[in-house]
Symmetry: C2
Subunit: 302 residues, 2 copies
DNA sequence: TCCTTTATGCTCAACTTGAGCATAAGTGGG
DNA sequence: CCCACTTATGCTCAAGTTGAGCATAAAGGA
């Protein structure tokens, strides 16, 4: 192998184990959810599914896919690697965890274990006034923590968007890390200093989840991955609500439709939806356009 | 640990060693370069610097930084994780390699080992007619390989941008993988079927480099990372050429300046450049705006 | 019937982007 | 000194994109 200081064979003994961690995301109506395991109390979001890496797959990707599909009995849509973390186990060998984001549909038979992801990040849901209020409260607390340090205050304001600074849905991880730095995050040990601080998760799973949400929010703007989380046929409102659920903010309905129409990502099935209000046309995703353009955006209007 | 089928202790023995691989990028005038090691013949791009992961750092990031800085004696600017690969070592334990992208300046004392990255990807340099021609030749070959399969042809055209389809600089990895699939990539074993196919690299380093270039091209559009690769003071032309070198395509000069001016990312030093043609103002990067906005774009006009 | 709810079509102003025109200010050669 | 050549810099214009709102349609229930 090339490289300057390649380790000797003894190095191998010190080498870390690798673990896979999955952020398995779906949308249940207007509620974005992830699969959670080992909940105590039940129905709380506590830990992401994880397991050891197994030899014998063509790629890590394939390994994650078959492992998750075996566990959940759900076919997976889009899957992508998030990040690799190394934790030092008290100065000794380090455990490497490789995290993945995978998208799926909640079928008609929802598994137990799906939990709304905003339980862990109340301030990230800017669709509702309560979510926005949580974000305000945290920004206040952050500014107290910042003290007179100008750079810090500016960073806080840029991330949490006050005073005309726009709110960027995809900066989930940066916001989480700032809150963490400021000691405002409830972790397993110490209790939450504020009510708006969200539920704690096992080990570093909350950070991994933040990474996953951030990636998904970013991706949704330039790649039609939402459709991996929708049923075969859906109304435009359904599509819009899924996008809003993920992005954590509302969009202008007419503009959203204009955008969707312009991109020719969907086609009418010819059928209409039932339900309250005027019936809406049902659409299906046109998988074929993916090949024409390789990448197409869904773009979020404000 | 939570998770469904957590491995027993015996699993640990099968676990892979982890190796770090760095794509260390810089810009030399109008030439984008990466640090290469172990060149044979010398001055060829053969392998990326790599080494074993060492315990004792706060994070992987910090480990890579100190390792690369020790090797190259260059301070690193931006550094980010690219991807984690697992290669199966003949069905046995897998080697995990964690790859990183790091940016730096080539100081006044250039290290040996910097090589133009387009040697490995001639078709990615759309600044020159020869690069565009290489891209055309490869697309022709691809279309022959595709045969009548419509979906394949469409994918090839979308990626290589023919017939009015726009060329997307950041789809480096996808293009590489398509060429690879089509058997058009020269790898260590078999020779190149075409002249335009670029130089082979050790193991999977060419894929890693492709990932790094892709990430850098994408990043440059919404984060001012170019400045990490420029000297303290520079002319707007210098800045533009660096961007063009990375993006692999030319931009409209006046629009580029308008964009830079609008973003207030740079300020005049008051001095002028010497050299051929009318002297130009020298600028420096305003590091302080980074904090105000958290993220600022450099955006590439066509 | 009227009220509530959701669907859908259309317009407008503000802003962004791609492209080009024109002029300025250096250098080196006749 | 004037000219060709090179790079710098200011400005305009047409198209396209985006944010926001007006208006109307079609269903169900009180």
């Amino acid at each position: 192998m090339p490289g300057s200081d390649k380790g000797s064979d003894t190095t191998v003994e010190r080498m870390p184990a690798a673990e896979l961690v999955a952020v398995l995301a779906a949308v249940d109506g207007a509620n974005p959810v992830v699969l959670s395991v080992d909940s105590e109390p039940p129905s709380a979001l506590r830990a992401l599914p994880s397991g050891p890496m197994e030899p014998g797959h063509r790629s890590l990707q394939a390994g994650v896919r078959s492992w998750v599909e075996r566990q959940t009995r759900h076919p997976l849509g889009h899957i992508e690697q998030l990040y690799t973390f190394a934790d030092r186990g008290e100065g000794g060998p380090r455990a490497v965890s490789i995290s993945y984001l995978a998208l799926t549909r909640i079928g008609t038979t929802p598994l137990p274990g799906w939990r709304g992801w905003y339980a862990a990040f109340p301030w990230e849901d800017h669709r509702s006034a309560t979510g926005r209020a949580a974000s305000e409260v945290l920004l206040d607390a952050l500014e107290r923590w910042c003290g007179p340090v100008r750079a810090r205050r500016q960073r806080a304001r840029a991330l949490f968007g006050r005073d005309g600074v726009p709110w960027h849905p995809e900066w989930v991880l940066q916001r989480y890390e700032l809150l963490f730095e400021a000691g405002l995050i409830a972790e397993a040990g110490h209790p939450a200093p504020l009510a708006e601080t969200g539920t704690a998760m096992w080990h570093d799973h909350r950070r991994i989840l933040a990474t996953g949400i951030a990636r998904l929010r970013a991706k949704i703007q330039y790649h039609p991955v939402v459709f991996e989380m929708l049923p075969d046929s859906f109304t435009l409102l359904h599509l819009q609500q899924s996008v809003e659920a993920i992005a954590g903010r509302l969009v202008h309905k007419q503009n959203f439709r204009r955008l969707i129409a312009a991109q020719e990502l969907v086609e009418e099935t010819g059928q209409m939806s039932a339900g309250t209000g005027r019936p809406a046309r049902l659409y299906r995703f046109r998988g074929d356009v993916m090949r024409d353009r390789a990448v197409v955006g869904t773009k979020l209007p404000r």
